[in-house]
Amino acid sequence: MTGWVEMVLKDTYDAIIIGAGHNGLTLGAYLARSGLEVLVLERRHEEGGGLCSEEVTQPGFVHNIHANYHTFVDMAPPVNDLDVRGHGVEYVRPEVQMASIFDDGTALTIHTDMDKTLASMARFSEKDAGTFQRLYGEAHGFIDLLLGTLMYQPPLNVKDLTKALATFGVEDRSEFLSVKLRRQTINQFLDKHFENDRIKAHLAFHGAVCSYTNDVAGLAIGYPLLIGKIDNWHLCVGGSHRLAHALWRDLAQHGGVMWSDAEVTNIIVEGGRAVGVRTADGIELKARKIVASTVSVEQTFLEFVNPGEIPDAFAKRVQNDVVHKDWSLFSVHMAMNAFPEYTAAEFDPDVNRAWVVNLGIESTAQMDRDWKTLRSGQLVDPQPNAAVNSLYDPVDAPAGFSTGLLRQFAPYALADGGAGAWDKMGRWYGHKCIEAWRRYAPNLTDDKIIDWSVFTPHDIATKLPNMVRGDWMMGEISLANMLDQRPLPELGQYRTPIQGLYMAGSTQHPHGFITFGPGYNALQVIADDIGIEKWWQQI
């Protein structure tokens, strides 16, 4: 090292973490709090990864370019362990969490007040409202167990899990849990328990927004957890990036270093053990104890590690067997001088206060048709979900103004032109998404929209290359890619074929989203391996 870099960086750290997304920062902060010398290296100009908030339309309008929804607040141990609120994060749990507006002007609303949610559902089906009340009650009862069993522990095998459920007789005790869920789609779960198409559509769409595609076999196994947190959606005031900044502050406060604009090109392996990294500008940094990667499996093992340092068979499995999501996200970020006024407010005035609104999703059959279209690389007529953070965030836009975020499920590679075709199609498709929103909120005329910008699936992969093919969950969400099988059985417990090298990002169990889970769970394994007292496990 030479010059000013030498003045800031040491030659050697206890732990080097590749990637300063929320998982990398979480792992780094815990290790720093445990007394280790920690360096987190980030390719981009700032920490956060998907937690990026930028003024991409007009000055003063803060848009969450990627991660917008924080659904594990106060469920994920790091929120308290790392004192993110003490570091400046303010979460708001919007009273009207989500709504679905239908083409006949009716609407269904999910509230933090469950009685209001049930009343809204009962307007569509009293029977389904009763079923939902029991499902929510049951899910809320076991959510701590589910989180402790499934989310914030290194993963079990699905066979162990289902065997335990059978041994405990869960099927006889629960109306909704069953070992059969591991073979069922969310559609099948909903069809078994609910009767109203629109309620089913809303519940399925809620799952899809969390990346649980409703027509994929086996995903019913995770559905009760999704219901248990259906009213736990939080907004990070001032932009999601504030969470990343808080995690960085915690890291820094405990002696850790986050170094941005530091692109790792190599993981240095000696004698089968990861001993450091090399950056694009040739700096070599040594790690006494561990190197952890929070970027993609492909980057880690096919780009950073030299051929010959991993078994050929494993390299082939990384090339061929790592599976990515078969749909991505298309976003429109809007700066507005108005708030949406939905025609459906005549039916349910609360839709105007809903943080997130799903537009025109009438049935699960409609969703199924859309998935088929997307998987063939075609665009669907947009039926986006619309989030207006400014309803609950007083600082993300100037007073009297608002931000809007339209999200539409979309293919990464278009059948006509591949992923690169998004550069031509993005603006056109964004306009179609805005038109779709306007059908339900006719006050959002052109003069109300000051500026807008799109973020396509291709943009996701370009800006955040760890999200291979625009895969915002960093790995397919399916039973075959779940728990200890994610992303490959060899990597399922966060260890790798290279001693001292760990995987700690969203490629790992549980998955992407702001869960903190991969970083937190990798920490448990690393602590076991290098002998760190688990001060954070206050049982």
Binding site: I143, L145, T149, Q153, L161, K163, A164, F168, V170, R173
Partner: protein, 151 residues
Amino acid sequence: MPDIYTSDWYEAVKVAINEAVVKIPNAPKDSFTIQVEIVGDGKTPYVADGDMLRFLIRLEEGVCAWYREIDADDPSVKLNYRFTGPGSVFDSIAAGTSDPIDAALTGTIKVRGDMRFLMRQAEMVQVLLKAYSQGVDTTWPKGRPPYDGVG
């Protein structure tokens, strides 16, 4: 027949657990400590409303080594699990009239600790719970749940 939550009762539970464990083929030989926290809920006559009765269960090499009541968290004891719930629910489990798995599934009893072990050793957990809830002929000097009579 021991009175609930007395030294004799703890000893009887320990014996019941160990008699059950030896019958489990290939029982795990793990050692761990569980803290049980019984919260006075205004229904149980055995713990004053708002108070907490705490006891530790220590399993060593798969069998119950000791059982003891404590006044407060003991920082020198490293816990593996903590079970917390309303007194009337714990009473009814000890009386064999409520199911501990139901209580955990509904969140009535909160379970903290490494769930993976509990899931992997589900059969042993079932046996231990059965020993706790049905293995001791308990007497109830202040009434048996649902506390409709004395003894």
